[in-house]
Amino acid sequence: MFKNVFGIHERSLLLSGERVGVLASNIANADTPHYKARDIDFQSVLAGEQSTPGALPMARTDTAHLAAGPGGELPTLAELKYRIPFQPSLDGNTVEAPVEQAKFAENQVRYQASLMMINRRISSIENALSGQ
């Protein structure tokens, strides 16, 4: 019954948490020559999640087992996309501070929204259990 109790929000929270780190790296390297801004493609990861609704994670009882596909792992460094800059700088850096700050703010709202949904779910389950 409690297998998939938080639905998409659980995965969304993990993904937004991961994205905070990626965007923080971009902002930290705003002055680093040749640094290329990167980002997680939220839409495509979300689409991958929704194509397998309620997919159960595959049990890995041996270290030699392969990881499950969609709905399994978070994106790794190799799967990150590069941001296309409006105006790249001469030193090869593609970080645009206002763009990154906007994305960071947006991602923060996403994170808080997922957190709120999970909190509401917890309190509704608590309500149901207390039987009032």
Binding site: E18, G21, A24, I27, D31, Y35, Q101, F104
Partner: protein, 141 residues
């Protein structure tokens, strides 16, 4: 949990920017220093930043987040020191010349503004990450 790594990443950026601010302060302080020979004249110093990518490119399966800033070192400007004719100066050479620093004050001031803005951004990022973590730790209450 990658949210904790944000503190490392932003912390490395703040360290790098404060080194940059330090170097700028040193350059501005010595903008009017003079010397008897061109070799002894003060030369503007500039920090070199690089992304901490070495261990990540070696292992692309690592977590996506967490590329900090690395200080590669400090380089000295190759511009010629300014030669001035001041025969009455105690440091003047036999021909009456003193050699001033090659610091460009306008460049240093823009560096200072840029460093302080980048530092502020990193502080904001760290504050936001802290807020998110605190909210997460009180989940379900």
């Amino acid at each position: 949990m990658s949210l904790f790594k944000v503190f490392d990443v932003s912390g490395s950026a703040m360290t790098a920017q404060s080194v940059r601010l330090n170097v700028t302060a040193s350059n501005l302080a010595n903008a009017d220093s003079v010397a008897s020979t061109p070799d002894a004249a003060y030369r503007a110093r500039h920090p070199v930043f690089a992304a901490q990518l070495q261990e990540l490119t070696a292992n692309p399966d690592l977590d996506a987040a967490g590329v900090g800033v690395q200080m590669k070192g400090v380089v000295q400007s190759a511009a010629e020191p300014v030669k001035r004719f001041h025969p009455e100066h105690p440091l003047a050479d036999a021909q009456g010349f003193v050699y001033g620093s090659n610091v460009n004050p306008v460049e240093e001031l823009t560096n200072m503004i840029s460093a302080s803005r980048s530092f502020q951004s990193s502080v904001e990022v760290m504050t936001s990450a802290r807020d998110l973590l605190l909210q997460t730790s009180s989940m379900g209450r």
